[in-house]
């Protein structure tokens, strides 16, 4: 049985390690072979980018060697897939190699596409890339007064990040002693300040307490860097001194180029996590078209389900588990407090009051991630 995992992010790595442990005897007996193809020899802890943008972490702290995170039973190659040929159970890699499989897991993730919004690349800062986060911190240090506007593209990874950004900006400028000289204006695509109703209800009095201005039903149409104006599809506009964008995201180009899904998102069964039309192809994390948060947490819980099912198919011939839509999120509510939310397809999140211990736990998790991605947590 040849299992091919395409993508070495959170979902792909947790899946590979979980499978390697479940199938260790089969791997030793050469009945199962697990191969991972990835675009990079490095693994990034992406949630850390928010800390980089506020000078609380440096980029080198976000990386580990991908090989060092994998169980010995996983054959790892830095050679991204250039073409999927699902009807022939094979992929062709960038280096020109052909790799055949019996079971395929696609976990290629997503990418920011600020270029989809005219002017956003030139006119906005963002913490959704390493270079962007460093640049954003340098810009923040220069701000003495003025308006910081926040604009949110759709779809985007980590839906809680825009709210965390607001809390962090408030604390950053409060600590600098210039909060009264800096106006923070938050723009959000739908008719409340967060897509999760309970989060919006919880965040609104917090925004009011911090003096955050907000405009809802604001979908970014264009950014005018010359005049420092951001305009919405809904016909409104805001002038800014610094614009911070949550850029729109797309799936990876290879997904669209192989005709696997519009926008790079693969049609996926919401419980079995198989690609529609292919029982031997699983999809994980950001790559799915599921109505689930594009977060490492979703990828983590999906990976555990897929690992258990692939192992059980090999051992007893059938899958044993359904994905229930589970997602768990830390929510940083400033530089010294946090809360958390957990939800699934049937149960909305029930937010608790923020606290310092939850922030400390989040700080600890930033290191524990490396155990988590090895499949040990």
């Amino acid at each position: 049985m040849r299992i091919l995992i395409v993508g070495g992010g959170t979902g792909g790595t947790i899946l590979a390690n979980n499978l390697a442990r479940r199938l260790s005897s089969e791997i030793r007996g050469r009945k199962v072979k697990i191969t991972m193809l990835s675009a990079s020899d490095k693994h990034m802890y992406q949630p850390g980018l928010l800390y980089v943008a506020f000078g609380q972490m440096t980029p080198d702290q976000l990386y580990r060697d991908q090989q060092s995170l994998l169980e010995p039973g996983v054959d790892f190659y830095v050679d991204p897939v250039a073409e999927f040929q699902l009807d022939h159970n094979k992929v062709v890699t960038k280096s020109g190699k052909t790799c055949e499989y019996d079971m395929l897991v696609i976990a290629t993730g997503s990418r920011i596409v600020p270029e989809q919004i005219p002017g956003m690349t030139e006119g906005a800062d963002t913490f959704y890339s390493e270079a962007g986060a460093v640049k954003m911190f340098k810009r923040l240090r220069e701000i003495e007064e003025g308006t910081i506007a926040i604009a949110v593209g759709v779809p985007h990874k980590c839906p809680i990040a825009p709210v965390e950004l607001v809390f962090s900006l408030h604390d950053y400028f409060t600590a600098k002693g210039i909060r009264d000289k800096v106006k923070i204006k938050y723009h959000y695509p739908i008719g409340r300040i967060h897509t999760i109703a309970n989060v919006a209800t919880w965040a609104k009095p917090e925004f009011d307490r911090m003096g955050i201005e907000y405009e809802t039903l604001f979908n970014v149409k264009e950014v005018d860097p010359e005049n420092k104006v951001v305009r919405s599809e809904e016909g409104t506009e805001t002038e800014y001194d610094m614009l911070i964008a949550i850029p729109p995201h797309a799936g990876m180009e290879v997904i669209e180029n192989s005709n696997l899904g519009t926008g790079g998102w693969i049609p996926t069964d919401r419980h079995r996590l198989t690609m529609e039309g292919y029982d031997n192809v699983y999809v994980l994390g950001d790559t799915t078209n599921l109505p689930v948060s594009k977060t490492g947490s979703a990828a983590h819980f999906e990976a555990e389900v897929v690992a258990e099912n692939i192992a059980s198919i090999i051992k007893i011939g059938i899958p044993v588990k359904d994905y229930d839509g589970k997602v768990y999120c830390f929510i940083e509510t400033g530089h010294d407090s946090a809360t958390h939310a957990m939800f699934d397809y049937k149960n909305p999140p029930d937010l608790k009051p923020s606290s310092k211990p939850m922030h400390w736990f989040k700080m600890a998790y930033n290191q524990m991630y490396w155990s988590s991605v090895r499949g040990l947590l």
């Binding site: 759709v154 695509p189 739908i190 039903l217 599809e233 109505p291």
Partner: protein
Amino acid sequence: MSDSKVVDARDTFCPGPLMELITHMKQAEVGETIELLSTDEGSGNDVPEWVNKVGHELINSEKIDGVWHITIRKAK
């Protein structure tokens, strides 16, 4: 509405039905119609509110067996 693309956003809290609709509207061509399925009680109000404000066309909105079926035509 048999030609509409169906966006199944039932039983989802994040990113939620309206955010799902906005994602698919961005990918659609002008003139295409999308039927949104939602179990979020608020969709009956917040989807038409956004559609009207942004300037798309609301074709139909009805609740059947606890599920909102809202059809929108992309107008621009």
